[in-house]
Symmetry: D4
Subunit: 249 residues, 8 copies
């Protein structure tokens, strides 16, 4: 709860315009809407610039639809990630103009007020074609949060000239999200080329000793290019939010 809000409440109590019991309620009250299966945090938008995002995995289509309706009914922007096909169907039936992205597995509906714009461009770089679903999740999220998005696709380090050919584009980005599976080596190369913040996303692409993304995750945590940060495996959403924190700071 914000300090100036508390100050206002206290002044109202001091000048008699607010009863103690009501101030107490206000101090205790949290802007949380409780469903039997969820506590919706309607003030997250105030705190963090975008309403609570629904993580679709492990929720039933009914649960997702109901939470979504509560958010939309307030005019807030809606974003759902990790959306299974059945839940996408349900959402389409419930909220007519919702935008489903099947590659990204997301649902999106803009709020009544546009999201504040971030500075510059967030460039998403992928090492391979198989990393595209993660890139798409990042792109949808960045867009929802008010960012310009650039893309460089399929420039793995085994063809290092493909990366170098994109030098100018890389240099002009505000933030770079680098998405790679297998050896996860791309963020090290890009981190050494640019000054901008680099957020690395390991993907579960690869087989055998890639261990579902552990190999690129470790590579990225150990990047010899200083100042590369890392998010969870396949977490395009998290990388986008991290980038958006930067472009909105």
């Amino acid at each position: 709860m914000r300090r100036d809000h508390v100050r206002d409440l206290l002044h109202q109590v001091a000048n008699g315009s607010l009863e103690v019991s009501k101030a107490l309620d206000a101090l205790a009250l949290e802007p949380v809407e409780s469903l039997p299966f969820a506590s919706i945090d309607h003030h997250r938008s105030l705190r963090q610039g975008f309403p609570e995002v629904i993580y679709g995995a492990g929720k039933t289509p009914q649960q997702i639809a109901e939470i979504a309706l509560r958010i939309v009914s307030r005019g807030d922007g809606l974003l759902v990630t990790r959306l299974a096909p059945a839940a996408a169907e349900q959402l389409r039936a419930t909220i007519s103009d919702i935008q489903i992205n099947e590659v990204a597995r997301t649902a999106y509906l803009a709020g009544t007020e546009p999201a504040p714009r971030g500075t510059g461009t967030v460039t998403i770089v992928t090492a391979g074609t198989s990393d595209l679903p993660v890139a798409e999740e990042a792109a949808v999220t960045l867009d929802a949060l008010g960012n310009c998005v650039g893309r460089i696709t399929d420039v793995g380090v085994a063809g290092i000239h493909r990366v170098l050919a994109k030098h100018d584009e890389l240099m002009s980005a505000s933030v770079i999200i680098v998405i790679a599976g297998m050896d996860g080596a791309l963020p090290s190369v890009i981190g050494g080329l640019v000054r901008a913040p680099v957020i690395a996303v390991p993907t579960s692409v690869g087989y055998g000793a890639a261990f579902g993304g552990i190999a690129p995750l470790l590579t990225m945590l150990n990047s010899c290019a200083a100042g590369v940060t890392v998010v969870n495996i396949d977490n395009g959403f998290g990388a986008a939010v991290a980038a958006s924190r930067i472009t909105h700071s």
Copy 2:
């Protein structure tokens, strides 16, 4: 980019036969063809003797077919690995004379020029029948890259005489690829018998504490026979390329 190519460009600029802006473009230009979902590296053939190989996992049938067409349209040889049945169908429909190998899960079409021949024979040894799909992937790749292929099948160390009976065949190989799951002990025995390079491939065959190939992977990395090298679990393709690097050096 090759140094002699740069030298030629500079001479053309010096003698006025090439404008600065065009030389600049040429220096910047990379022989990469960009699709919305892939960057095809058409110069890999120059650099490494075979065009870019398509790794089928994580790509849609449409993506694979489109990339394949671009490669074939230049007369380059085509090799696709980890090909799912649906993608194989699509390829068969798109490129009439393509060769699908269902055990190896590969698609292959020779280029207009034959691949340069490697020296000697690459012998593929498997410890058990269950290792055959990996062996087949290696065999198809070796063949595509211009190598003679020999095979010794199902000679695990629990019947050590089966290995020893193949002594002459092993001694005459240029490179030996040893494929084993479970205890992964075969490369240690063969590596101690021969002078030739030995490339070990762990497979995900086995149960329980084989952990999807970790057990034989660790065995092979710790081989008490010096000079055995290892590739990723089930990576018959990688072993074949490594062997072909040797036979073409």
Copy 3:
């Protein structure tokens, strides 16, 4: 190599002021100084705003001192991390006015030109007293890279009011570095409180199933607060560089 540099070289060749062979050399030449045991990247300052930082682990005191002298002799700023006591002694003997920080295990000497200033304050938050060496490494690095540094110490989530009491300080930071061992839960709480970028650093503090930092590393990668990014275990240096990339972007 920068594109405008290439353009200039080409123009010089075109107007005859530069011979082809010399241009060729220039294109090939890299601003790297080679010692028998190291290749010093003197252009890193141009590319990334600070000269190459010496990672002290695994290098002999003699190697560190020699590399340091080469950097200092150019007037560049010097930063050495993971400095063992013996190497610190050697540096003190070699470079008289160097600043050794024993808690941070760093050596620092400002360059002849001050580092460009970053915007705002980078606030370093630690969960416990035992995390201080990592925090100190981050602080020294941030300072060397031209950043204002704030600190909040020993505010683990088991006393959640200690965190909440620092709300205003947290809200005013440009970037927050959160350092925690054991359960690594602090970044999740702080990430949910603020809009600013949050960089989490797991430490090897803790025993038993903390596994030398794996436990907080996993916690942070799985933070339920969206947009928290993570660096390697005990990597205060990396977190500082990542923060500085943001404050200088």
Copy 4:
């Protein structure tokens, strides 16, 4: 075997009311009913206050039904966990008034005597909606064992005010079961707020480096709030039994 029971037997032997051979049998006899595929421990109720609970995983529907019938035929309470749909069908067909809970994957039938009541309320707290099946398994078990159950749902630490808003409810609980996936940070915060016993349950909710629950498991084992204990991943049943041991002690 209880000491007073042995004493009685010995007295009966001493006064001739029991033959040696029968006493020997009694000492050897265990209240275990043997089926070809199971040994049912009918005295567990005496030892532990509730009959043996059937762990449904890995048993066929026929096996489950047969064991269930033996328990019910004695008038004991019946609880089955990890019940697959097919086994649930079979149980419904076999025991008419059984209560199937599909979310919890349990079957329950009260015994002829009510379970002894535990003191106070056991409050189940979940970090997210996706943790509900585990919470439900805990709730059904607690109820079967004679406990009052409270619930606080979806109060992850990324919205710390949601937790704090439940402060009074948390303070009044006898035992708190905290269920969380992903970063598993919630038990650390709650453990620092309350004096009551806190039992943490990691869930397999999350993706990537959550590793099927390893991440929250490690977080909880390393909780910086002293005195938090942990049960197996997704083990709502185990947490409930642990809580019930406390409320019945």
Copy 5:
């Protein structure tokens, strides 16, 4: 912060006995004493019945001594765990009547008011002699927190009669802490014998595939005796606090 405290403050503001600015301070003020390297939580005693315990690992002797003095100067009870010999020396020199336990690696000084007594006896059971340091840490902590302590030593399951011989003692305990390394099987046996809460502590005793305590940790998490809870490896302190939460609830 407690709700009744907030209510009082608000009433004082309403009746003019407290200025807004001071109330604001009070609401913001936390009972935390800040040293440059630590934030001491003096209200933990109120919240949890015992003052903050100092975790000695990773702190310098000076830091420990300074924090200890602040706690002692308020008349609070002092407990330090994981105390290195040098820090023990420093404490002995600083606080004359402190009790150092070298096996447990603890320092203890009772507060001016005795700790509230817990109900019943907490019995500590060890599987082997090598587990004694962990048992001793638990015993010192239990004593400091106001509990009666019982002990059963060296009763591993390989001599199952040693466990059974202690049946009566086990049955009479309020809470049982079971400490075991190697196979960690003892809690499963005891958990099946008694109704009381059982807290299992894995130790790093053992070699080879005990992996520093991972083996018994996993055993205990998977205990086939329902309702056994687990704390971190070698965490005698944590088990004692967990037990004390139960005896004081």
Copy 6:
């Protein structure tokens, strides 16, 4: 190859009854029958008392059937493990009087000569009903190899009296195979009760931190009962062969 066989060959060469080239062939010849996908070791029976057993996993039904026919055609006993339903069908169609055991997933046909009898009884003990498929695989294998088999089912250590009640049966066994998932504690208890060899088999039964059998595997490797040996997870076959090596020695 046996030394006396070599001696005979050499004598035949010496007395002229065998040509050098034929002796050379004989020395090189191994009693291995080569199919395109398998090398059948027909002398294993001589070396180890039972023909090569077919490990069904990873082999096609056709491959299994063809190898089986070769073995049966020589009058050798046939045993197939890890048999998928489709392969079982194919075998039934190919070899009319084959015995399929669906729980054990085995196929068996006795050889023309009975297997040599082992001494005493091999007793198979399981901790739970869910361990039965592994027990069944062990039982079928033991029977095929000529052993008497005893069984004790569902006697987990959480009901320790169930184990103790079987004391006489355990004491009379020649070899004991103990099969357990979850905490895997049963072999420690039994290993402490008996003098006979104890072979422990971890199973993949359990959830969460059982990690597919790693937990009981580690428990068993760390058994505090000396002299317990361990085989791979779910490897009932291997335990049976190990036991049979003992009963036939």
Copy 7:
């Protein structure tokens, strides 16, 4: 407790030669001697043919010496393993004619009655010179337990002829203990050559991805030679006891 002993007690009670209270004591009494830090199991010799062996790791020299004296004072044989040098000194000072083996890190003193002889020879095979300490621990233990010991040293599979040259010696063994680090492949080869029971011991010899013995442990658990059993890493003692269970059965 043995059944015939119970029978005798009961008969004595029945004929009045034993009071109930004394019988009760006898039934409760266990042949366990309790020190403050240990419970010595004096009946283990009856149950398992050799008195309790002292595991030296984690015990102080004083504890070891005191336990040793209690065992020796009864005329039982004494064996201590994992004996640190300081404890060895203490033992030498306490028990004059004790035999210390520094390579094996054992102390041994024969009992007043010789250990019963096992049948045949237990042959210890090592893959390399570095495995000798583990082999020595096994040899001392085997000798103490009454077995004949054979040895084959340094016959790793990289020189497979070194193994084959020992064929006759291997064939004549009753039990074979195979000790190997690194790739741990030797038990697979030997297990395929012989019919006798094979017990594999992984050692922590090797570097890098041997991971302190995990690599050979996994190799051995996955041995393609059926019926190889495994003990803990470096556990020469355990292998010897397992072998002795076989030779005494």
Copy 8:
């Protein structure tokens, strides 16, 4: 044993020039010299072109010296790796003109006949200064085995231009050994640049989540450059032998 050797023996037997018993001995005799602690394989030179190399770790100085003397006394070349300082002293005292390399931790003495020369140059590339000990071990081994050695030092991918500047040198190598710790990304870049065989060596350089070399090991196994092979962590020796197998094939 070589086939032609057997043929000769058989002819000698056939023509009476060799008795059966002597031929039998010859067939049985292996060129192995047995010490009490080692079996020296004097024929390895014949089989593999260099005598058995002594792995120094885990052997006493006395053992190493004795084995070394046996090898040197035959005029064979001597190579010892992983040589501890004490063992180096002992060797220097025993064999006067031995060459000790302290960085590489090796001892070397050329044989009376020079090692056969390999074709071309083996180029050793390191990512950082801290990788030099591993590189030095590789260089000493390559030299001992008769290879020309080239070196490129400290060219990590974070300064990609340092790698590219060495393009010509890389292109002219016969085999390239790439040594890297931390992110282990260098082999992927180099593998994509050259056609020659590339052998990757992960090192234990790095901290935190490098896990003693696991991170670069996984990176290299998952290299997106096809045909890169991998050896064990820090295994410069193994990489050199693998390279020498190629240059001598």
